[in-house]
């Protein structure tokens, strides 16, 4: 038997492959899932065009300094897709396996639970990446957009965010283990955060009370900083500061996520609620 890292990598690979196989066993759904993002992109583009005056989006420029709403939106959509991939990836997969009854079989193997959790997010990350690449290509082919900034520093900004999301997703997965209403919880948390953190619009348009909430969400700074880096928008705060906030956020959520997940997993073993229906 493999031990240590080779064992973990093999388990991760197998979980990814299994999820891919299950995904492919519903072909219509698979095609839909891949094409879907293109469908919701199109109206956004034409809406943005209709708001523009002489091809220039004056309102957006006043708020952000850029007039390219499509690029502004695509970037936001990309980040928020990854956010929900990590949310759904773990919690939803867990819920699913609990309902079908295979979760206990997984827990009966010597693959550590954290590795199993991580594995459950890989396929949705992959699918999101496929979606984003497709959208990127289409948008670029059809409408064209240019980044004024460099991509690498922007990726460095989102890296701690992604790790932070794992912490969050892990904690949420823990909650899923002891509640029956996983979908509702995930939807509620995910949607509200996406809206309030400015995935689709500059948060500065929000009324004061909502803006206050928005500014309390580290995710807001991720959208803001990445747009600043790639599109040259005016940012809420210096980019370095946003990056620092994201790194701090990463440590907090990962620690909290591990603690919550560990506690709840322990509780499951105490109460025997792993297989409830």
């Amino acid at each position: 038997m493999l031990k240590g890292w080779p064992q973990h990598l093999r388990a991760l690979g197998a979980i990814f492959r299994k999820d891919l196989q299950v995904f492919m066993s519903y072909p219509v759904n698979a095609v839909m899932r891949i094409l879907e993002p293109l469908m919701w992109m199109t109206p956004v583009y034409f809406m943005a065009r209709s708001f523009a005056v002489d091809g220039v989006n004056i309102g957006l420029r006043a708020y952000t300094g850029t007039t390219d709403y499509v690029a502004f939106f695509v970037l936001g959509a990309a980040i928020s897709s990854y956010v929900s991939a990590v949310f759904w990836g773990m919690g939803f997969a867990l819920k699913n396996e609990m309902d079908t009854g295979v979760l206990e079989s997984n827990w009966l193997t010597p693959a550590p639970l954290l590795v199993q959790m991580l594995g459950r997010s890989l396929f949705s990350l992959f699918l999101t990446t496929v979606n984003m690449l497709m959208i990127g290509c289409c948008v670029w082919l059809l409408f064209g957009f240019e980044f004024t900034g460099r991509v690498l520093p922007a990726l460095l900004t989102v890296a701690p965010l992604l790790v932070a999301l794992y912490g969050f997703g892990l904690g949420l997965a823990g909650v899923v283990l002891i509640t029956n209403n996983a979908n509702n919880i995930i939807d509620l948390v995910s949607n509200n955060i996406t809206i309030l953190s400015g995935a689709h619009f500059p948060v500065t348009v929000l009324p004061r009370p909502l803006l206050a909430i928005s500014l309390a969400l580290p995710l807001t700074y991720a959208y803001d900083a990445v747009r600043g880096q790639l599109l040259g928008t005016t940012t809420l705060m210096p980019i370095a500061m946003a990056q620092a906030i994201l790194v701090a956020f990463m440590f907090v959520t990962v620690t909290a996520g591990l603690i919550v997940f560990g506690r709840i997993q322990d509780r499951c073993r105490q109460m025997g609620t792993l297989a409830h229906h």
Binding site: M1, I15, L274
Partner: protein
Amino acid sequence: MSRAMVEVEELRKEFPRRGKSRQDPPVVAVAGVSFEIPQGEIFGLLGPNGAGKTTTIKMISTLLKPTSGSVRVAGKDAIRYPIQALRHLGTVLSGERSIYWKLTGRENLEYFAALYGLPARVARQRINALLDRFALTKRADENVERYSTGMRQRICLAKALLAEPDVLMLDEPTAGLDPQSARNLRDLIREVKSEGRTVLLTTHYMEEADQLCDRVAIFDHGQIIALNSPGALKHDLDDLNVLEADIARWDDAWGAALQERGAVNYDLRFDETARVHRLTVHLNGHLTTGEAVTELVNLGADIRQFSLKSPSLEDVFIRLTGKSLRE
């Protein structure tokens, strides 16, 4: 002397009562059981519904944390080092949903082989061998949802054997199988034993425990009320005659009368197909079988047929608890 592969000591599990206040006493699912299973033995947990068999298996397989007590698997402390213990354990829980129905049999085995940490090449060889051995090769690339219950059970067994575990645990392995598939599965379990593996299984079919197990622990209300080989358990009832009679109508007063006359025990259940009450009476020297039959006839019982049986594990259970194993 072979060493103990499973050691369970004073194992206890309490569940808080759902939706009640904290002051309510908890449900005691397992009330302190101890046993040791030497290598190469088939050990059975036999008991009625709710006796605590599944809970015991889940504690040994690390899915449940015991309230107190200890578990060792192949010498490893399963409570403190679950992953270590899991490397020596193959477990099949009851229910057919423990594998992915949307994957093929082979894909399922490939997936779990990886989770058990088998290198790809080793996994491939073992999967082919297991598929062959369990007569699944022909259907290996079909989705599990199209399998019969017996085939699914065999895939689950193959899954549990992938890592060549020292200990194989099976929760109600033959439940829901037709007699032919059940016999087939019991043969496979004997084969596993012949490879030197230790088998722990639960069942509430006493014939199964009798045929299959080297030793049986009889569970009731979370406790082991007897533990021995089936032969020895039945031998303890040597002084006992077992009368079985099919009766058209039953009156509880008759049972009381039989006991008054010296019957040790009696048990009754209704046979749905024959539409008769099947009465089992335990007798020792105080009342002979002939006297018992006469007594019943005098009381007005319409006896369709009767026979004498040698004691079974069921009779052991009735003798120990005063009730029947299957309800």
